[in-house]
Symmetry: C2
Subunit: 159 residues, 2 copies
DNA sequence: GAAATTTACTGGCATATGCCACTATATTTA
DNA sequence: TAAATATAGTGGCATATGCCAGTAAATTTC
């Protein structure tokens, strides 16, 4: 029987592509579980982040998502269109827009939460609970500004 | 000084979103290094896979990339347009198309290889050589068909 | 305080990815 | 072998993401 534990003939020497392949597959797996909700896993993640953020400015939301500000704007479009999130102007700085869930958004989030838990539980079961937590920590490290600085050779701890 | 090792206020309990954030950041980092070549890191990865595949059928290439077949087709478009890759019909099965690098594609790949090595070296330096290899192995596991089966609760080793 | 600069967002354009419907070919069934 | 089914790709549509060039509003300079 063929080796079923490695993507068929994939070029496994690039850390970036390894991460991308894993990310595509995992996204697919979570997506399938969330399907009944009508939300993509990306959207669910975004809603969660917005919910936790309590009217976070777009800029900060983008940073938390490790995403380009304009990309975030685009990604929010369908959610706004569907009435799940809405923008509110900042009272002090008129350049700033804050995002929050609408009533409908909150409702859908709640309805979808169980599905996300299910997906996460399956992941933990297949990957191992501890390994899972460990993985998230590792991913957070790679996603951190500090790592980007280290990668780019920028020194930082001294301002 | 604020904690600089965690994306600001990110919801870190979802393995999928953790992976996505890391993937976005890492992609960005590699991208910056590859920039002089004019190739996106995704494209470089694809060219490499095609180069290694020696006229692989699209289907197999898609599997190796853990990517949807049609998505692969779309992603190849710009590369075909720019004359980096070309399709050749399979001699025995007329449904099958095989992809290969053109002379130009091979040239650009070679010219870009050094940049990729540089990016990979920076990653290894920032993340740790051993940890890096370890990470790739972990990512390969998550990207494997076996993991998908385990996640989905499908039994497989018994046919 | 007016001019220069920085900051937060938007809109247009391009690539990355996935789903679905459809076409052309093979392969399997009856 | 004709019909049913499976396989490999394509094209259209939708979301995901990033870059760049504005625009508007705040902050810093002189």
């Amino acid at each position: 029987m063929a080796d079923n534990n490695t993507p068929d003939g994939a070029w496994n020497y690039c850390s970036n592509s390894a991460l991308k392949r894993a990310s595509r597959q995992l996204g697919q797996l979570y997506e399938d579980v969330l399907a009944p909700s009508g939300l993509k896993i990306t959207q669910y993640t975004l809603l969660t982040q917005i919910k936790l953020g309590r009217e976070t400015p777009l800029k900060l939301l983008a940073e938390a998502m490790v995403m380009d500000l304009s990309a975030l704007g685009h990604t929010l479009k369908p959610l706004q269109r569907d009435g799940l999130v809405e923008m509110v102007a900042d009272e002090h700085d008129r350049r700033v827009k804050r995002v929050r869930l609408t009533q409908k958004g909150n409702q859908l989030w709640s309805d979808t939460n169980g599905l996300w838990r299910e997906a996460q539980a399956r992941f933990d079961a297949a990957f191992g609970k501890d390994a899972s937590e460990n993985l998230r920590r590792t991913m957070d490290l790679i996603a951190s500004p500090g790592f980007a600085a280290a990668f780019s050779g920028t020194r930082q701890d001294q301002d």
